[in-house]
C-alpha cells in the first residue's frame, strides 16, 4: 500500500515542470550537467525509480536535495516530534472539551445549553483555522502582548497553535458525541439499565458512553493520523518547524527524497491508526468481534 502511494508520488513529481535546482539564475548547461551527474538524474528512469522503492523498503530515504548534507531521516526525526506534540495536545483538548460538551448537550437535549453548545460547535466547524489563528494572534499576541504570535519555544508558544488546531476537532467531536449519545440513550439496553434501577451516573459512564462514543472513535483514527503528521496551515501561520511546513517547502523545492520520505511516513501513520481504530472498536463495542 505504502509502495503504491510512493510510486504515484514519484510519478507526479516527474510530471511537475522544473527541478530542485531551477531557480535563481538560469544555469549554464555545464553546471546543470554537473548537478544531474551528482544527483544521479542522468540515469535511466527505472534505475531512479528502483532506487526510490528500495530506499522506501529499507526505511532510509537518502539525502535531501535542497538541504545540503541533511538526511531525510534526520529531518523526519526532528520535525515529527514537533507536529506530534502539537497534534496530540490539540486532539486531547478537543476530546476533553468535545466529549463533555457533547454528552452534556445530549443529556439536556433541546435545552438552552444544548442549543448554545451546538451553535458554538457549528461556528467552530465553519470558521477555518486560517481565520481563527490570525484572530487569536491579533488578540493575544498583538493587542494584549500576552502570548507569542509565532515561533517554537516554551509552553507559551504552544497555546495559540493548539487552540487554533483543536477548534474544528472539538466542534466535530461535540456534535458526534451528542448524536451518538442521543441514539444510545434511547436504546433498549439503557432502558433496561434504568429499569433495573441503576444510578444515572453508572448508566452514563458504564453503559451509555461506551456505545455513544463509537462515532468519535471511528472519527479519531484518520483525524489523529492527520493531526500528528503535521498541519500545513497552522504550522505555517505560526512558523513552527513541523512536518507540514517541510512538506509544503519540499514540494515547492521539488525536493524528491524529502517528498517521498514524508509521503511514506504519513501513509504508514494513516494505516496504523486505521488499524488501531478497528482494534479499539473490538474493545469498546461488545457487538464487534473479529
Amino acid at each position: 500500500m505504502v509502495l503504491v502511494v510512493v510510486s504515484v508520488t514519484w510519478a507526479l513529481i516527474r510530471l511537475a515542470p522544473g527541478n530542485f535546482y531551477t531557480g535563481e539564475k538560469a544555469l549554464p548547461p555545464a553546471i546543470e550537467q554537473n548537478l544531474r551527474e551528482r544527483y544521479g538524474l542522468d540515469r535511466p528512469w527505472y534505475v531512479q525509480y528502483g532506487k526510490t522503492l528500495s530506499n522506501t523498503v529499507r526505511g532510509d530515504f537518502g539525502m535531501s536535495l535542497r538541504y545540503q548534507g541533511q538526511p531525510v531521516n534526520a529531518i523526519l526525526r526532528q520535525a515529527v516530534p514537533v507536529s506530534a506534540t502539537l497534534g496530540l495536545l490539540a486532539y486531547l483538548l478537543a476530546l476533553a472539551v468535545g466529549i463533555v460538551a457533547g454528552t452534556y448537550a445530549a443529556l439536556r437535549q433541546n435545552t438552552r445549553l444544548d442549543h448554545a453548545s451546538m451553535a458554538i460547535a457549528m461556528v467552530g466547524i465553519s470558521v477555518p483555522n486560517f481565520v481563527l489563528g490570525p484572530g487569536l494572534v491579533l488578540l493575544f499576541g498583538l493587542t494584549w502582548y500576552v502570548l507569542p504570535p509565532a515561533l517554537w519555544g516554551g509552553p507559551a508558544h504552544l497555546v495559540l497553535p493548539v487552540l487554533t488546531l483543536s477548534a474544528v476537532y472539538m466542534a466535530y467531536i461535540a456534535r458526534l458525541s451528542r448524536s451518538g449519545m442521543l441514539e444510545v440513550l434511547r436504546s433498549n439496553y439503557i432502558r433496561t439499565a434504568r429499569a433495573k434501577g441503576l444510578p444515572e451516573r453508572q448508566i452514563l459512564f458504564r453503559h451509555a458512553l461506551r456505545g455513544g462514543l463509537l462515532p468519535v472513535v471511528s472519527f479519531s483514527g484518520p483525524a489523529l493520523a492527520l493531526l500528528l503528521t503535521g498541519t500545513v496551515v497552522v504550522e505555517r501561520i505560526f512558523a513552527l518547524p513541523g512536518l507540514g511546513n517541510y512538506f509544503i517547502n519540499a514540494n515547492l523545492n521539488r525536493d524528491e527524497p524529502l517528498i517521498i520520505g514524508i509521503v511514506a511516513f504519513i501513509s504508514i501513520v494513516v494505516l496504523i491508526f486505521n488499524l488501531l481504530v478497528d482494534i479499539a472498536y473490538g474493545l469498546i463495542d461488545p457487538r464487534v468481534r473479529y
Binding site: I31, G69, V131, G141, P148, I248
Partner: protein, 559 residues
C-alpha cells in the same frame, strides 16, 4: 540574480487563497493598536537585554556552505560566518577592505593582486593565500556542482575546469606568497574587488571539509573566518551565532549573539516584529497597504535598491518581434502611476536602477506617451480602412502576460493590464504560474508576448544588469541579441578610466533601450523594518548587513 517578485517565492502560497477576512483582521490590528497612540515606533519597542540581535533573514537556509547555495537568505547569514577579501560597506554596499588590506589591478583591469592581513580561522589556524586557492578550486570542481560557479567564469581557466574540460591547476589563481593572492582574468573586470565580496569567493576551511565531508557545516564541525561562529542550528526553528574571539577585528564586533529565525510568511514576520519578538527583518516584507502608516514610524527602512522590476518581451514571436509593437506597449504604461500605487518603488524607463550608481550617466528610455504608442501601432498595420488605430486588428490571441504567483506580481500585472486596456484598447489576458514552472516556461521562450521578470545586482556595478543581454540564452529571456551592444559593453569594460567606462556603458544601455526587448517598470525599494535601538544597520542597496557593525543601543537618549 533572478528574483521572484515577492522575493520569497513560497510566501504567498497559502495567503493567495485566504479570503479578505484575514487581510481585514491584520489591518484591524494595525488600526486599533498603533494608530491610536501616534507612537514613532511600530508596536512594542523594548531593547532586549545584552548585545543580542534577533533577525529574520528569509527561508530556511539551503546550506551553510557558501559555495553551495545561491540565495539571499543564506547570503545574509554568510556575512556573519565568513569573511571575504572585501566586505560590503554597511551603508553603500561598496567593497571595503577586509581579509585583504589592500589590492591593485594591472594596467587593463585583467589581473588583481590582493594583500592579506594577518588573520585566523576560528580554530586558530592562520588564513593564508593558499586557503583562497583551495577554496576557488573546490568551488569550481564539477563534483561539487555549485550553482553559482559561473560567477568565477571571469577567472582564467575557471569555466573549462568547471565544465570538466580543464584542470584545477590551470585556474588563474596563484598564491604568490602566504599573504598575497593573485587572480588572472579572461577579460577586463574593473568591478572585481566588489565581486569577491560575494559568498562564492569567501574562503572556506579546508581541514574541516576534508574531515567531515558534507557535515562540515554542522555546529560541532564548522570552522569560520568571520566575526561569528555557529552555535546552534535547528532547521525551520532558529540558528544562533556567537562572537568569534579569534576574528581579526574582534575588538570592534559588538554583538555577542545573533538569533536568526527562518520564516516565509510576511504577516507572521510583521506580527513578530510588532510584538517585539524580533528586532529586524529582511526586505519587501511590509505589505503595500500598511506603508502609509509605517512611513510615520522610524522603524521603516526605505531606500532605493540595486534591483529592478521589468517585463520581458518574446522577440522571437509575432507580434512582439515588431519593434514598433514593443515600443507601443512600453509607452502605454504610466509608470509613475504604478509607483504611486505600489507606494515604495520608483518609476523606471532605463534598465539600470535609479540612484544606485553615482556618476553613471544613465540613459532615459521612452516616456509615457499614449499618442505615440497608438501611432506606432497604426504604423505597424493595426488600422482600419481610414488609417485610424483599430485595436480589433491586433492579434491579441498571441499575447498574454505571464507571471509567477505572488500577490505583488499579480497587483502589478493587473495594473499594467488596465493600462493597456485603457490606453490601447487591448485586453491582454493574465496567466499566473508557480515559480519553478514559470522559470522553465520563460527560459524556453515558450511564453506568448510578455513575461514578468526582476533582477537583483550580484555586485555594485551597472554591468551586473547589462550583461544579461550578452548571451542569447539564460537569463536574457527575450531572444534579443545584438553584436553591437555586446561589443560596446566589452569595450567599456576594457576601459580603465572610470568616467569614460561609464559613458561607454551608458551607450550600450541606450542600444538596449532603443531595441526595447524589455519593458522597464520600477527600481525596487528596500522596504524593511528594524527597531530603533538597532544601530549600525542601514538600508543599503543589497539588504545584506555585515553583522560586525551592528549593535543594540540600550540608552533611549541615543536612539
Amino acid at each position: 540574480m533572478v528574483i521572484d517578485g515577492s522575493y520569497r517565492s513560497t510566501e504567498s502560497f497559502l495567503y493567495m487563497r485566504m479570503p479578505g477576512l484575514l487581510a481585514a483582521a491584520v489591518l484591524l490590528a494595525s488600526g486599533c493598536t498603533t494608530q491610536a497612540d501616534n507612537s514613532p515606533y511600530f508596536g512594542k519597542t523594548e531593547a532586549p537585554e545584552g548585545q543580542v540581535m534577533r533577525y529574520i533573514a528569509g527561508s530556511e537556509p539551503e546550506s551553510l556552505d557558501p559555495q553551495v547555495s545561491s540565495g539571499q537568505p543564506e547570503a545574509r547569514l554568510y556575512v556573519g560566518l565568513y569573511d571575504g577579501l572585501t566586505e560590503y560597506h554597511p551603508e553603500t554596499a561598496v567593497a571595503i577592505p577586509s581579509l585583504a588590506e589592500r589590492w591593485e589591478p594591472n594596467h587593463d583591469n585583467s589581473e588583481f593582486t590582493f594583500h592579506l592581513r594577518a588573520a585566523q580561522w576560528s580554530n586558530g589556524d592562520a588564513i593564508t593565500a593558499h586557503d583562497f586557492v583551495y577554496s576557488l578550486r573546490r568551488g569550481l570542481a564539477p563534483q561539487l556542482a555549485s550553482r553559482i560557479a559561473y560567477l568565477a567564469y571571469y577567472i582564467k581557466g575557471a569555466q573549462a575546469y568547471n565544465e570538466g574540460k580543464g584542470k584545477a591547476e590551470d585556474v588563474g589563481i596563484e598564491a604568490v606568497d602566504d599573504h598575497t593572492v593573485r587572480y588572472r582574468l579572461t577579460q577586463a573586470v574593473p568591478y572585481f574587488p566588489g565581486l569577491v565580496a560575494h559568498q562564492f569567493f569567501r574562503p572556506i576551511p579546508r581541514k574541516a571539509i576534508e574531515a567531515h565531508g558534507q557535515a562540515w557545516t554542522q555546529p560541532a564541525n564548522i570552522v569560520t573566518s568571520g566575526p561569528f561562529i555557529l552555535h546552534t542550528w535547528k532547521p525551520y526553528d532558529h540558528l544562533i551565532f556567537v562572537r568569534n574571539p579569534r576574528y581579526w577585528d574582534a575588538a570592534n564586533v559588538k554583538l555577542d549573539r545573533i538569533i536568526f529565525y527562518p520564516l516565509e510568511i510576511a504577516t507572521t514576520m510583521m506580527n513578530l516584529f510588532k510584538a517585539g519578538r524580533v528586532d529586524g527583518l529582511y526586505n519587501h516584507i511590509p505589505p503595500a497597504a500598511w506603508i502609509d502608516r509605517l512611513r510615520l514610524t522610524t522603524d521603516h527602512m526605505d531606500k532605493p535598491e540595486a534591483a529592478i522590476d521589468y517585463y520581458q518581451l518574446n522577440t522571437t514571436k509575432p507580434p512582439m518581434s515588431d519593434i514598433r509593437v514593443r515600443k507601443a506597449f512600453n509607452m502605454a504604461i504610466d509608470k509613475a502611476g504604478l509607483a504611486a500605487y505600489q507606494r515604495t518603488i520608483k518609476p523606471l524607463t532605463a534598465f539600470t536602477p535609479e540612484g544606485i550608481f553615482p556618476g553613471y550617466p544613465r540613459p532615459i528610455g521612452d516616456p509615457f506617451d499614449v499618442q505615440r504608442a497608438r501611432a506606432l501601432l497604426v504604423e505597424a498595420g493595426y488600422r482600419d480602412a481610414g488609417g485610424k488605430y483599430d485595436p480589433s486588428k491586433f492579434p491579441i490571441a498571441e499575447v498574454e502576460l505571464t507571471y509567477n504567483t505572488t500577490e505583488r506580481n499579480r497587483e502589478i500585472a493587473e495594473y499594467v493590464q488596465a493600462q493597456w486596456k485603457q490606453n490601447l484598447g487591448l485586453t491582454v489576458p493574465l496567466k499566473n504560474m508557480e515559480w519553478k514552472t514559470f522559470l522553465d516556461h520563460r527560459a524556453k521562450l515558450e511564453y506568448k508576448g510578455v513575461a514578468r521578470s526582476g533582477w537583483v545586482g550580484d555586485y555594485m556595478d551597472p554591468n551586473t544588469f547589462l550583461e544579461l543581454f550578452t548571451t542569447r540564452t539564460g537569463d536574457n529571456g527575450t531572444g534579443w541579441y545584438d553584436q553591437t551592444f555586446v561589443d560596446t559593453l566589452k569595450a567599456a569594460n576594457r576601459e580603465t578610466d572610470p568616467a569614460k567606462r561609464y559613458a561607454m556603458m551608458a551607450q550600450a544601455e541606450k542600444i538596449l533601450l532603443d531595441a526595447q526587448p524589455v519593458i522597464p517598470l520600477a527600481t525596487t525599494s528596500t522596504n524593511w523594518m528594524k527597531k530603533i535601538y538597532v544601530k549600525g544597520m542601514y538600508a543599503n542597496p543589497v539588504t545584506i548587513h555585515p553583522w560586525k557593525f551592528v549593535y543594540i543601543e540600550h540608552d533611549p537618549a541615543k536612539w
